[in-house]
């Protein structure tokens, strides 16, 4: 029986030499049951060929696998598999664009929330809500100059000035319109009022803070 099936498959697949094929055909014609089976198989083959190739869906394998009955595994194995199993991320252009949109909107909201200013190189009045103010301080002997004020909660490390030619130290601060008080700190210990400030305000401790007024 197995030998008969073998003959049929060889004939249908076009295998073997011409003599062998001729011999096999004679055998099939001689046996009515074998002939019927051969004809059925040949018809099926023709139907398949006429139908053409249908491409498998993109996630055919994954879907087939997901429909297979679950394998009995221990809890530990399941945990391990959950963390280390390879996953197929399904996506399409619409969901990809939507994700990009969510990322952009969330980032924009966060930037707005924390009001991160855009730095520019000019000294005054850039943009509507944040203005870049350049502070200069002359201290040729200083090794380090910082500025602290109510705009940075008097943090002596937040805004360090950079040294330019001729002993001038400079920094740029992005600030909203308003009135600010500040002082320079030289070498981390000496608090100095800005001699170039237009007005001053006492700080309640015997120092004079410099006043910076930023108008819209």
């Amino acid at each position: 029986m197995i030998k008969d099936k073998d003959i049929l498959h060889k004939l249908l697949d076009g295998e073997g030499s011409p003599e062998e094929r001729k011999k096999s055909e004679s055998q099939v014609q001689a046996d009515p049951a074998l002939r019927k089976e051969y004809e059925d198989l040949a018809r099926s083959l023709r139907t398949v060929k006429e139908g053409g190739r249908v491409p498998a869906p993109a996630f055919f394998t994954a879907e087939v696998m997901s429909k297979l009955p679950p394998r009995r595994v221990s809890y530990g194995e399941r945990v391990r598999e959950f963390f280390f199993r390879g996953r197929i991320l399904r996506w399409n252009l619409a969901s990809g664009l939507a994700a990009v949109g969510v990322v952009i909107i969330t980032a924009a909201l966060m930037l707005r929330l924390y009001n991160k200013p855009v730095e520019t190189s000019s000294a005054h009045l850039q943009g509507e809500s944040v203005i870049i103010v350049r502070l200069n301080f002359y201290a040729p002997q200083a090794a380090r100059v910082a500025v602290a004020g109510d705009f940075n909660k008097w943090n002596v490390s937040a805004n360090i000035l950079s040294k330019k030619n001729g002993g001038i130290w400079t920094t740029e601060l992005p600030l909203k319109p308003g009135v600010y008080t500040y002082m320079f700190i030289v070498d981390g210990k000496t608090w100095v009022t800005d001699p170039r400030a237009e007005t001053y305000r006492d700080d309640g401790f015997g120092y004079n803070n410099s006043v910076l007024r930023i108008k819209t």
Partner: protein, 292 residues
């Protein structure tokens, strides 16, 4: 809901969470990022006594519950410990901030004074005294400002009311009498000015007094300026003139007399409706800025 929709929504939610977390982390990094829990840990690790540690932590919780930003509570604790402030004072700072907030007074000036004092290395007990003093003055200032608004001084949108309370408190600290402040308010009302003009006028009075001018003279000068219809910009110009003259080595009497003379000549007055840059009066006036 189909499986595909579920997957898409999950992806979107995951993307949003990841972005939010990254942005929040980045923002925390920008502000120093120290949390209240880290500050609590620093208190626990400090050499303070157990009772003092507990007191600081209790006051910190109270302050944050009252509405003091946790960032400020962290700064006070962190800076206090770093500068060697005693535990009682640190607890006192937090309690003062909490009390101010609970009384619905502007808390920013008090927080600013504490944070500034700690940064500048002012002794803790002096900072505490100054912060408590300011809190009392803020409480005294509020009814003065409220009465003015009720009596017809124009309110302004935004933080104008709190600014006025803060400047009145500052003026009271400089020993400017309450009746002089109220008289200034009446002048503003007569000129149909806003609470913002009132705040600027009181601010100028306080600045003059803090620079060494007698308080009655400072009040008279500013009230005379209001009588002449001076704007906020004009009052600012008066302050600049004062400091320019002082930088030139003039005595306060000379400065005050010079200012009175200029006011009589209308030199410092641009008018309320005028919009534009400061007008240059020539080198003698010491106003600086471009000549127009």
């Amino acid at each position: 809901m189909t499986k595909r929709m579920t997957t898409t929504l999950s992806s979107l939610a995951a993307a949003a969470v990841v972005t939010f977390a990254v942005a929040a982390w980045a923002a925390a990094g920008e502000t120093g990022g120290k949390t209240l829990d880290e500050a609590r840990l620093a208190v626990e690790k400090s050499s303070l006594t157990k009772d003092t540690k507990r007191e600081i932590l209790t006051k910190a919780d109270r302050a944050v519950k009252a509405g003091v930003p946790s960032e400020d509570a962290v700064i006070i604790i962190d800076r206090g410990l770093k500068h060697g402030a005693d535990g009682k004072s640190i607890a006192g700072f937090l309690e003062t901030a909490a009390t101010v907030k609970e009384r619905d007074l502007p808390m920013r000036p008090v927080l600013d004074r504490i944070e500034q004092g700690l940064s500048k290395g002012v002794p803790a007990e002096r900072i505490l005294s100054a912060a408590r003093g300011l809190a009392e003055k803020l409480a005294t200032a509020r009814p003065i400002v409220n009465d003015l608004v009720r009596s017809g001084v124009q309110p302004v949108p935004g933080g104008g009311h709190d600014d006025a309370i803060e400047t009145v408190a500052r003026a009271l600290e400089k020993s400017i009498p309450g009746n002089a402040i109220m008289r200034t308010g009446e002048k503003v009302k007569e000129q149909k000015g806003s609470i913002s003009l009132f705040a600027k006028a009181v601010d100028t009075m306080a600045t003059f007094a803090a620079s060494g001018m007698a308080t009655d003279r400072a009040s008279r000068l500013v009230q005379a300026a209001l009588d002449k219809g001076y704007s906020e910009r004009d009052l600012e110009k008066m302050e600049k003139t004062l400091f320019d003259d002082l930088k030139k080595g003039r005595s306060m009497d000379e400065v005050a007399e010079g200012m009175e003379n200029r006011m009589n000549r209308n030199d410092l007055h641009e008018g309320r409706g005028r919009i534009g840059g400061d007008q240059m009066r020539g080198p003698g006036a010491g106003m600086g800025g471009p000549r127009r």
